[in-house]
């Protein structure tokens, strides 16, 4: 495999990347750089995490930065509180079910007390349950105050027929969202990780009847979510998650031994290859050379494809200048947007789906937007 020639991120991402690599870099940043750091960190959802890591540096930072960090930490603490409450309410709602419930992503990191959970602003909860139980799970949630998010009939059918999850459920009082998955990738995806294996390997939690994925599976899910489930736009946060998981888990040699083999077993070698490549290439994640090579052997695509991704991924994933969006970055994101759908569904379905999306009117509550803040019809408080 040729040496990675991965495109350099925009210079404006420099302060953010420097601080992610080493928090002490904050002390060396000029006012201009600190200003850019705050902006880029906020856009990529990394501000709270940096603020938490910078706690011990507080007194040596300018007042303005301290204020933003203080606010960001407050927000993170509140989100963590709400997330744990949400999991608590879910435990209550699903208490009667015999089936295993596996927490995914943010909720999993928090409940497993992993360091990477710090500073995450997530209030949606994702769970994985065996497919035969999905009806019972849905019914239990509906009984405890969750409601279906209003979707166009097309989207409802699309979800139930092709997707790996139910249409999102929103709690009527708390307005929080639960995504119930029965597999981690859509049925139409080109990859077919067997959810039963993942559920079987899931680990118990200290304080919860729910479970979390085994470490290798957690990393693979994160990689898959990044490279096969979303469109990489401004997804630096997700790559940082991959980085964090690798750093957290690398202490145990067993982790590296099983990682590539497990990826093969779950058909997730391709996303693993990309995850290791770009975490190491863009964030400097220490990955043992033999693991890198094994991952490449197991999952690398053709060289031209790798070269193309080497160009597109940094452009799309890294934040460009907040005032001067790069045309190349926009183009990269468009290409990767199409790719993200291509990897999830066969061509015919894709063409129909994209046509539908392009021709349809903008739907604020539509499928792709359900996790966003609802846009306010008018200014608040008026």
């Amino acid at each position: 495999m040729a040496e990675a020639v991965i495109a350099e991120p925009d210079a404006s991402a420099g302060p953010l990347l420097a601080v992610l690599a080493d928090c002490n870099a904050l002390l060396a940043l000029s006012a201009v750089d600190l200003d850019m750091l705050l902006r880029q960190a906020r856009r990529t959802n990394l501000l709270s995490r940096i603020a938490l890591d910078a706690s011990r540096l507080e007194q040596r930072l300018p007042k303005t930065v301290r204020a933003h960090f203080d606010a960001a930490r407050t927000l993170a603490a509140d989100q963590d509180r709400m997330l744990r409450w949400e999991v608590n309410r879910l435990e209550r709602a699903l208490a009667g079910l015999a089936a295993p419930v596996v927490l995914l992503k943010g909720a999993a990191y928090a409940l497993a007390e992993l360091p990477l959970a710090r500073g995450r602003l997530v209030s949606d909860v994702d769970i994985l349950v065996p497919r035969p139980t999905i009806g019972a799970v849905e019914e239990a949630l509906l009984r405890h105050g969750w409601e279906h998010v209003k979707l166009e009939p097309y989207d409802q059918r699309y979800y139930r027929r092709w997707m790996h999850e139910l249409p999102p459920l929103r709690h009527r009082d708390r307005n929080t969202i639960v995504d119930v998955h029965h597999r981690i990738l859509p049925l139409t995806s080109r990859l077919h990780p067997d959810p039963n294996r993942q559920i079987a390997a899931a680990r118990a939690l200290a304080d919860s009847p729910f479970r979390v994925l085994a470490p290798a599976d957690m990393l693979l899910h994160s990689a898959t979510h990044l490279f096969h489930d979303g469109d990489l736009s401004l997804a630096l946060r997700d790559l940082v998650d991959v980085h964090d998981l690798l750093v957290d888990f690398r202490e145990s040699p067993a982790f590296w031994e099983v990682l590539v083999a497990r990826a093969r077993e779950l058909e997730l070698a391709r996303p693993l290859f990309y995850a290791l490549r770009y975490a190491a290439g863009l964030l400097g994640t220490p990955v043992p050379a033999d693991v890198m090579m094994a991952a490449a052997r197991a999952g690398a695509p053709s060289a031209p494809l790798v070269a193309m991704m080497d160009r597109l991924v940094p452009l799309a994933l890294m934040p460009d200048h907040p005032d001067r969006p790069g045309r190349q970055a926009a183009a990269a994101r468009r290409l990767l947007y199409v790719r993200s759908h291509w990897v999830r569904m066969p061509s015919l379905l894709l063409a129909r789906h994209l046509a539908r999306k392009a021709l349809g009117t903008r739907r604020e509550n539509g499928v792709a937007q359900h996790r966003g803040l609802p846009r306010e019809a008018g200014p608040p408080g008026h």
Partner: protein, 309 residues
Amino acid sequence: MSVSELPPGTFTRRLGHEGIAFHAGPFVVRVVANVAELAAPLRLLYGDLPLVEGGIVDFHIRLQASTGPRRWLRPQVVFVCDGETPFFPLPRRLALALLEWGINWCVHHHAHQYLLIHAAVVERDGAALILPGPPGSGKSTLCAALVHRGWRLLSDEIALIDLADASVLPLARPVALKNESIDVLHSFAPAAVFGPVVRETVKGAIAHMKPPPDSVRRMHEAARPAALIFPEFAVDAAINLAPLPKARAFFQAADLSFNYHILGERGFDALSRLIDGCRCFSFTYSSLDDAVGVLAGLEHEPLMTGSYG
């Protein structure tokens, strides 16, 4: 150099390119707008504010007006703060109102280093009156009136409460008035300076009143809260300033807070400290003159002295 000291041409050019940066209380706001007609009203309303050059900006704001063919057919303007677009696009003629709403949004959406209450705040003789209220309570109108009868303007919309000592910090921004309030203020305070009136919005007519120069000059001077007064404007109502039990005041204030629920225990402590140190009232009125008169007569000494570092 203040905003009004910048030559109009330079101001307009800067607004459309690198933007104009100014203080809004403890925050530095930078506005870039490709809406040339905004320049004049901004120069008017922000005239007394010193321009900020360099340093860290708290909120980078862009007002993006539609370009291309859209510019002629139902032109719109969008408020963007570092990639976030909290509002739907509005008609271009509402650009100024959108900017004002947007700056408020930036503060109450991000500034969790303070306890934020939906309230007007004015100060006189070293003591601040905090006037929390939902839209329609008349707090902005009352605030605008008080500010032309000797009170200092801290805010018409957001009270910034320090989490450590419950002091209140000014924003000293333009005051947004609607419908009849605009005319009422014109008669009440003929010397008040207003930006352009925009009519036929969802909320009726909107205009912005320029903050008095003294309030702007003292923009960085915190104040000690002495009274928490919940105003309620009601046509033909008898004027009534009635003491409010503190427990009641606490819950009403928490209800009207933007971020009490986010702050958790610190919010509880700060609000408790605030309520402890204030006399609390509910206040019904129908005449601005009477209302101002009653509030002027209120004894201002805070209940707790000292410890307002």
